[in-house]
């Protein structure tokens, strides 16, 4: 359609868009309900905001129609395409080097490191969910449940039995994997959207139980005073006998613990990545990908669909358990608040935005989404609004994700052409 030739039509369309925008925003934006001085609700008009929104809708729609067909080259310009293609194989290494060297960079302070830890936690969760969604094609909207299981497992084992982080970490992973199988069994027959809703329900059940089983989990108050991990028996506390700083003859500095936690989550994330990459070359990984493409063909070829699905759930959940244990030890406090549906949605958004199945894409997406929303922290309640809008817009613009091209699991003759 060459809409550019028909400005009159475009104007009419834009006017219609503005009219619809007025209908949408007049009640909800134009009239704000507030509790008045007498305790009853009252309305406050905000018609200038509505006018702005209608103007934006008009201009946006008009620009969209007028520019349609003219602006369809957002892809890399030709002079950039070749270097970009050549640089692509080195990108993961570049990111890795940056991640490893981050604490040593001169401008990196406490805040940046904390942000790095947060981003890496989501990278790890994204990679873990990628096994379930990206590789096996099982849409899981309750992934946060396993994260919660891992976190509560560590918190309870550490506070009730005094077990150390390094013993609890594998236990948390195993426990989460066990729950993954437990969820996996009943939902084996479901597919697609149904699976999504059941996993969502499962995630909510776990959260409601955590919230109401007060004698075990502390209910809404959560669990506090979760012990911090040490490095081979060396503590990072200021007044410990056997402290890290003393052993290496350093001045005590709280940043040591932050750097340690940073490398800990980096190692955990890389472990997730390594296992995923290895598994993809194994028969199991190939079975996952085959399952994603066509379940019926899989059955016909004699792949055990039950085992394949359950391992995907279990391994994905296990990594969420690791991440949960790390989360608990970093925060030293957990409550059901941290494990709401929105977390699952964020992790899923990371996986889908990254281009399902692409390890690099997931890492970039986590950096963009988590780092990006961090930039908007000052906007408080606008943050999630922008997040939701971004999710829709990205799906519209790039439904296949940022890194849509997936590296093939196998190549003929074992080498790229």
């Amino acid at each position: 359609m060459t809409a550019a030739a028909e400005p009159v039509r475009a104007l009419r369309d834009a006017a219609l868009a503005a009219l619809i925008a007025f209908g949408l925003f007049a009640p909800l934006v134009g009239l704000r309900t507030d509790v008045g001085s007498d305790g009853a609700l009252m309305l406050r008009g905000r018609w200038d905001d509505v006018a702005w929104l209608c103007g934006i809708a008009f201009a946006g729609r008009f620009a969209m129609l007028m520019l349609a067909g003219r602006l369809h080259a957002p892809a890399a310009p030709p002079w950039l395409a070749r270097p970009w293609q050549q640089a692509q194989p080195y990108l993961p290494r570049g990111f890795l080097a940056l991640a490893v060297l981050l604490p040593a960079l001169p401008f990196i302070e406490r805040y940046e490191l904390d942000l790095g830890i947060l981003v890496l936690t989501y990278v790890m969760l994204g990679w873990g969910l990628n096994i379930v969604v990206g590789l096996a094609g099982l849409l899981d909207l309750g992934y946060v449940a396993f994260y919660a299981v891992g976190a509560y497992a560590y918190a309870l084992l550490a506070t009730e039995f005094g077990l150390s982080f390094w013993i609890c970490l594998p236990l948390a992973g195993i426990l989460a994997a066990f729950w993954g199988v437990l969820l996996g069994f009943p939902v084996l027959r479901l597919r697609g959207d149904y699976l999504a809703i059941v996993t969502l329900a499962f995630g909510e059940i776990i959260r409601v139980v955590l919230l109401n089983w007060v004698s075990l989990t502390g209910g809404p108050n959560g669990i506090s005073g979760i012990p911090r991990p040490g490095l081979f028996g060396l503590s990072f506390a200021a007044d410990a006998d056997n402290s890290f700083a003393e052993f290496f003859g350093l001045e005590y500095d709280p940043i040591h613990r932050v750097i340690f936690l940073y490398y800990l989550i980096l190692a955990l994330a890389l472990l997730t990545n390594w296992v995923t990459l290895r598994l993809r070359r194994q028969p199991l990984g190939r079975a996952w990908e085959a399952l994603r493409e066509d379940e019926i063909a899989c059955r016909a070829l004699g792949i055990n669909v039950t085992i394949t699905k359950l391992t995907a759930f279990a391994i994905g959940a296990g990594f969420a358990g690791f991440a949960g244990a790390f989360f608990a030890t970093r925060q030293a406090f957990i409550s059901p608040e941290s494990f709401t549906f929105i977390e699952s949605a964020i992790i899923l958004a990371i996986v889908v935005l990254g281009g399902m199945g692409s390890q690099l894409g997931v890492a970039i997406a986590a950096l963009l989404l988590i780092g990006g929303t961090e930039l908007f922290r000052g906007l408080a309640e606008w943050r999630m609004l922008i997040f939701g809008a971004a999710m829709v817009v990205i799906m519209l613009v790039r439904p296949r994700g940022l890194v849509g091209t997936r590296t093939p699991s196998t190549l003929l003759h074992g080498a790229p052409r």
């Binding site: 009853a40 409601v208 799906m395």
Partner: protein, 304 residues
């Protein structure tokens, strides 16, 4: 006995609300095969628009006449229908024919967007009003327990039945309803036969949103307090109702809604109110595992 009767009344009126929302899920799923994740939030928008219209008409503090309530209902239906239309037009239509998960992700994004939009525009605090339809009938009194049938509950049942009757006529007797059923059976074939499927899908979203607005308005009248987060739980439960009744089946959605409402009410009355959501979600999981086609659903033959 009296206690059980009271729970029955409460359960039916709650179930009617779920049924109205569930219809929106089941219609959209029937026609384009996607879970409209944002539908629960459209219901929430409907409740908010009802609230604002009520305040606009000065109905915030006490009893209201039937004419004014009808006006509120119609305004909420119209404005919410516009939301339903816009959501489909902006977030789903461009993704038709895209890969399987794209519309679902877009719908989740839309749900987050709507929730936070209402939070930003109207504030995070919950909005209480004084009941516009106060009072009720005392049905019986036994052993110090009175069974109350409030006027709101009568209104919910009567209005829902009226809306459902109109809706049934629309689907079974009108050209639009025929087009909708044709699209549901085979969208490509319907398009080949000259049905403007995009228009039919738009209208499906509009009707679904209008029904959700009725539910939102009734919810506000019944409970008297709303906030921006009510859509999530109500949405998941209504979806459960749609699945329980057999997704794609319109009478099934209402039946499922009634069952979910009754189960939830009786569960909180006799077992534990804290775990009532677990009961609803548990039913969802059990239904999908043991009876994936629901009570009134069709079995789908899987083709390669």
């Amino acid at each position: 006995m009296a206690y059980a009767l009271q729970q029955l009344i409460n359960g039916v009126s709650l179930g009617m609300i779920y049924g109205l929302i569930a219809l929106g899920y089941t219609m959209v799923y029937g026609i384009i095969g996607m879970i409209n994740f944002a539908h629960g939030d459209v219901f929430m928008v409907g409740a908010f628009i009802s609230l604002i219209t009520m305040l606009l008409l000065g109905l915030g503090g006490g009893a209201a006449g039937p004419g004014a309530l009808l006006l509120v209902l119609l305004a909420a239906m119209a404005a919410t229908a516009l939301y339903g239309y816009t959501v489909e037009r902006v977030a789903y239509r461009p993704l038709r024919g895209s890969f399987r998960l794209a519309p679902l992700i877009s719908a989740i994004g839309m749900s987050i967007l709507l929730q936070n939009y209402v939070q930003v525009a109207q504030g995070a605090r919950s909005k209480p009003i004084e009941a516009p339809v106060p009072g009720g009938i005392t049905l019986m009194e036994s052993a110090g327990f009175t069974v109350q049938l409030s006027y709101v509950q009568i209104l919910i049942v009567v209005l829902t039945l009226a809306v459902l009757a109109g809706f049934t006529v629309l689907v079974t007797r009108t050209p639009l309803g025929r087009a909708m059923r044709a699209c549901e059976q085979d969208r490509k074939m319907a398009a080949l036969l000259g049905i403007d499927t995009d228009r039919v899908i738009s209208l499906t979203f509009i009707i679904g949103a209008a029904l959700a607005a009725v539910a939102g308005c009734l919810y506000l009248l019944r409970y008297g307090v709303i906030d921006f987060y009510i859509g999530f739980l109500a949405g998941v439960k209504a979806f459960t109702a749609a699945v329980l009744g057999g997704i794609g089946s319109l009478p099934g959605a209402v039946l499922g809604g009634l069952l979910i409402g009754l189960i939830e009410t009786f569960w909180s009355a006799y077992f534990s109110a804290q775990y009532k959501d677990v009961a609803a979600f548990g039913i969802l999981i059990l239904t999908l595992i043991f009876m994936p086609t629901g009570l009134l659903g069709r079995t789908e033959v899987e083709k390669v």
